[in-house]
């Protein structure tokens, strides 16, 4: 034993074997750091700034004010009183009175029980520190000099709060029922919409995957249509259908569409394609042997459904449920248009910031909204990671057998859903062409004269197209390159998993919250990126970040299908990785790249929530114009603009389809031998 250790001590230390980093590795890690840095600057830092803003309170500091009071003849005897002391003696203001918003004001006459505005008594007042502020009328006094005021002017004095830090905003939030009731409202409509949407989408997907119904292609197309419009468009359609002048308002039996009913119906419309896609994927894969076994065990179809079909699709159902929940709770446009007096969190943020300029309270509501959004997102990810392959090598794909009776029922069911979707869109288009609903039903293009309305006119439509293009091009480049680096670089495990985490984060952050945090972060003169505030650049960055996760996942899925051997081969041929990336990876993954770009394009056209705080008068957008025109009461032009977005997105889809076919025929020829 001892000899061995001596041996070890005497032996010279061997060379430290570490894999050498090639120039390629360094380049890839460097690029990965750059994209990670991008995500930090556009996501992590703004969110941190917002969180810290929610703890920024405003408080009237009584110790900052001093008074002198004269006798009836106007002579001061030199006694100095501080507001703090007077308040302790008289108890004029409680602690909660002193904690206020940035716009808070408190009068001072309460400190002087003998005060009368007619009395000849004179007052002097000053700030004890340079930070103190008080108003005489509406003139701000910031200095520490004494200001002499007669009684009648003294009653116009208001103390102004100074900035402090603390939990005051949160206490204020939870002690205002009007505000925290919204939590309950938001959860309620999200749960109801989720149950309804998932149920409807399940049967729709079931019909398309498990029956021999006709017109499947058409139904698939119709089901995806709502993705092409902003979420507030169904709200506008519902006003025309069920409002007080609605075409079929009798169907509501006197209930008002403005409120939870409207929000739920609209939410079902705009979340339907998302739920349908996920559930359809889950139902598409199934093993026919399980159904054969069920038949041979003489199980009833009903029992088979509950013991084979539902368990097979359970992950899809759960995932769809959480995605829908997340979409509804973070949506802003729809409840803004049709919510009436039913307050929800996302609209509260808007009201606090735009209506009352209370940015701190906006930040508090944002923090509250992030919690359910992150929870829903986290559970969804957990469920997805549990999903295991349902198809083994021995599986036999399930094939539906024609059954005239059930096929007919499914056809009727799908037609009803299709009617609902097409109907709402048709109503919008119809409303846009009517001159003055409901008094003058003649057709006219008057509602397309956007330049005469609020919202930025036709300019905002072209801005939107510009934004969508830029987002598609820049976003696809950044996202795909980032995903490539994460998937294909060697080693550097910690760095890669941190990057993965950052890439997943945007999905959990509601658009309103992202937009608001951008105000706090970028609209700060000391921020070096301040110059992009109010430009198209900030809109592009915000939109790319907002839709980063889904694009990233699409890219990763495509890249995972590519064998790692490509990298090894190129390394052994001494080819730089970037060459491989450009010559092999991108062409092979072209379908995914095109999918990402159309996804970003369509979403940039329809997004409202993330950009509503960030557009400037020069960069108004079509989706925002829909919101603002509806807000001003120009509902028909709002519908017209919403339909313009629909047609543009539909056209983009068609171009995408044709382009994909052409390009894919050339680049994907290797796939078919």
């Amino acid at each position: 034993m001892s000899t061995m250790s001596t041996n070890q001590d005497t032996l010279p230390a061997g060379p430290d074997i570490r894999p050498r980093l090639s120039r390629d590795d360094i380049l890839m890690r460097g690029s990965m750091m750059v994209i990670a840095l991008y995500l930090i600057v556009t996501l992590a830092l703004p969110l941190y700034t917002m969180l810290s803003k929610s703890f920024s309170t405003y408080r009237v500091e009584l110790s900052q004010y001093e008074f002198q009071v004269s006798d009836e003849a106007g002579v001061f005897d030199g006694t100095i009183l501080t507001a703090d002391e007077l308040n302790r003696q008289l108890g004029v203001y409680s602690d909660t009175d002193l904690t206020t918003g940035s716009d808070g004001r408190l009068p001072v006459t309460g400190f002087f029980p003998d005060f009368s505005f007619r009395s000849p008594v004179m007052y002097q007042m000053r700030n004890t520190t340079e930070a103190g502020r008080f108003l005489v009328g509406s003139t701000l006094n910031e200095g520490t000099d004494w200001v002499e005021l007669d009684s009648n002017t003294f009653r116009r004095v208001q103390m102004r709060p100074v900035q402090a830090r603390g939990l005051g905003n949160f206490i204020n939030y939870f002690s205002t029922p009007a505000l925290f009731n919204s939590i309950k409202n938001s959860l309620w409509i999200s749960v109801v919409s989720t149950i309804v949407t998932v149920t409807l989408a399940f049967w729709f997907a079931y019909a398309l995957n498990r029956s021999c119904m006709r017109f499947k292609g058409a139904f698939r197309l119709i089901a995806m249509a709502p993705i092409l419009v902003p979420s507030l468009l169904p709200g506008i359609a519902l006003v025309y259908l069920f409002g007080n002048q609605g075409m079929i308002k009798e169907l509501l039996f006197g209930a008002s569409i403005y409120g939870p009913i409207g929000i739920v119906i609209g939410s079902v419309f705009f979340t339907f394609p998302h739920a349908f896609l996920i559930i359809s994927t889950a139902l598409a894969i199934s093993d026919a042997r399980l159904y054969e076994a069920a038949v041979s065990l003489r199980s009833t179809p009903w029992r088979t459904f509950w013991t084979v079909t539902i368990p097979g699709a359970r992950y899809g159902l759960i995932s769809a449920a959480f995605v829908v929940f997340n979409l509804v709770i973070t949506d802003f446009g729809l409840p803004k248009v049709i919510g009436g007096q039913f307050n929800v969190l996302a609209v509260d943020i808007y009201k606090q910031v735009i209506g009352q300029q209370n940015f701190e309270m906006g930040a508090v509501v944002s923090v509250v909204l992030v919690i359910p959004a992150i929870l829903a997102f986290g559970i969804d990810r957990m469920v997805q990671s549990k999903q295991v392959a349902l198809l083994s090598a021995r599986s036999v794909p399930y094939q539906a057998t024609p059954n005239p009776k059930t096929d007919r029922i499914f056809l009727i069911y799908c037609s009803l859903i299709g009617l609902f979707i097409v109907g709402l869109l048709a109503v919008c288009q119809f409303a846009a062409l009517i001159k003055f609903w409901p008094y003058d039903l003649s057709l006219s293009l008057k509602n397309y004269q956007f330049n005469k309305m609020d919202g930025g006119g036709w300019g905002s439509y072209f801005n939107s197209i510009k934004l969508a293009f830029l987002t598609a091009v820049i976003g696809t480049t950044v996202v795909f390159f980032g995903a490539y680096l994460v998937e294909k670089s060697n080693g550097f495990k910690t760095g890669r998993s941190i990057f993965q985490m950052f890439a997943m984060l945007p999905m959990a952050i509601p658009g309103m919250v992202l937009g608001l945090s951008y105000i706090f972060f970028f609209n700060n003169p000391s921020n070096p990126f301040n110059a992009i505030y109010g430009t198209m650049a900030i809109l592009v960055i915000c939109t790319v970040t907002h839709f980063y996760t889904v694009s990233h996942l699409t890219a990763v899925t495509a890249l995972k299908q590519m064998d790692k051997e490509f990298e090894s081969v190129s390394a052994s041929l001494k080819q730089p990785t970037m060459k491989l990336f450009a010559r092999v990876t991108v062409p092979v993954c072209l379908p995914a790249v095109l999918d990402i770009s159309i996804y970003l394009f369509v979403n940039a056209m329809t997004t409202v929530s993330a950009v509503v705080f960030l557009y400037s008068p020069k960069t108004t957008l079509a989706s925002i114009a829909v919101l603002n025109m509806d807000d001003a009461g120009d509902i028909a032009p709002a519908a017209a603009m919403g339909m313009m977005i629909f047609y543009t997105n539909a056209a983009a889809r068609i171009v995408h389809l044709i382009a994909s076919k052409g390009i894919l025929a050339r680049t994907q020829a290797w796939r078919s031998r």
């Binding site: 009328g137 509406s138 009007a178 008068p617 603002n628 001003a632 009461g633």
Partner: protein, 339 residues
């Protein structure tokens, strides 16, 4: 000869610099004036001041105010032309306005000028609350037209009235603050309690109630006269009612932003905004303007509007804004949840 060339060159250079200086003054002007009026305003101004170019930044009152407040430490605007006086008071109390007495300000109605000397802002035109009443829908519902604010609390109007939410709308706030001033603090809240029973819903914007009334979504919309007149001109079956107790109002006003780099040009612009010419220009849309004797009746405007305008205490409105909104929210925003 040499002498002359250099003289000519100097002249040319002088002329060149002069034209450069003349065409190079650009003013960033924040405004909430309706988009369709802006081009006309700039054109009229440039007739007398061709050397100053206006770059408009336009948005709704709430958003422009939020923008200005957010830029408090790094102002981007030179001049504010056409923003609610209550918003300007808010900015004034933050020390964001440059006091300036424009040439000829003494000719304006004193009601339209800030009380300080020199004034921090000067008014342009007034923006008066009114009730838009859809005669067709009201007849269908069997309603009688109201003549006063108090009438609107009659149970016959239950769920037939829409008004703007004062938390998001300047028009909504001027209604609430006028009721508090007219009926007293206690009476005002009592009035709103009763009115709340008849309100179908509160909208975010101030023009929407009138547009909804015009479209027949609701028989009665509490809004402002200007909007009502426009909808009526579009052919809506509206009657614009001026309640007998008096109506709240706010004015559009002008101010220089403290810290502007173009003070001289900014002052020229503000000088222009108080001229008779400018007031005649405001009169195309607004029946009440700051320059006495200028206003001609505007088509479809209700009669007796000028006399009905209350003696509005803007300072009261601005200084109590936060407290009023908080009280309003706890009374009505919270209560409506139960529905």
């Amino acid at each position: 000869m040499k002498h002359t060339t250099s003289f000519l060159a100097a002249l040319a250079v002088g002329a060149l610099t002069a034209t450069v200086a003349a065409s190079e003054t650009e003013l960033t002007v924040y405004t909430a004036v309706e988009a369709e009026d802006l081009a006309r305003y700039a054109e009229t101004f440039n007739q007398s001041n061709p050397d100053i170019k206006i770059n408009w930044v336009r948005d709704s009152t709430g958003i422009i105010t939020a923008k200005l407040l957010a830029e408090r430490d790094n102002p981007q605007a030179d001049v504010i032309w056409g923003l609610a006086a209550t918003s300007l008071l808010l900015l004034k109390s933050e020390g964001m306005l440059e006091p300036y007495a424009p040439a000829g300000v003494d000719k304006l109605d004193a009601k339209f000028v800030d009380g300080d000397n020199p004034p921090a802002w000067v008014g342009m035109d007034a923006w008066v609350a009114s009730v838009c009443y859809n005669t067709v829908e009201a007849e269908k519902a069997g309603l009688k037209p109201p003549t006063s604010w108090k009438d609107l609390t009659d149970p016959m109007y239950k769920d037939q009235v829409i008004m703007p939410n004062p938390n998001s709308s300047g028009t909504g706030f001027l209604d609430v603050s006028s009721w508090l001033q007219m009926f007293g603090e206690e009476g005002g809240w009592e009035y709103m309690d009763a009115l709340h029973e008849n309100i179908a819903r509160y909208t975010h914007s101030g023009s929407k109630p009138c547009k909804l009334a015009a479209a027949g979504e609701i028989p009665i919309g509490i809004s402002f006269a200007f909007r009502g007149a426009k909808s009526k001109a579009d052919g809506a079956p509206l009657e614009i009612i001026v309640p007998s107790e008096g109506v709240g109002w706010d004015m559009e006003a002008t101010a220089i932003v403290a810290g502007t780099a173009n003070l001289e040009a900014a002052q020229k612009l503000v000088d222009f905004t108080v001229t008779k010419e400018a007031n005649e220009m405001y009169n195309t849309g607004y029946a009440v303007v700051a320059y006495p004797g200028v206003a001609k009746p505007v088509e479809h405007f209700p009669e007796g509007l000028l006399d009905a305008m209350i003696n509005n205490d803007f300072e009261y409105a601005a200084n109590n804004r936060a407290a009023i909104l908080k009280e309003w929210q706890s009374r009505y925003d919270g209560k409506s949840e139960a529905k």
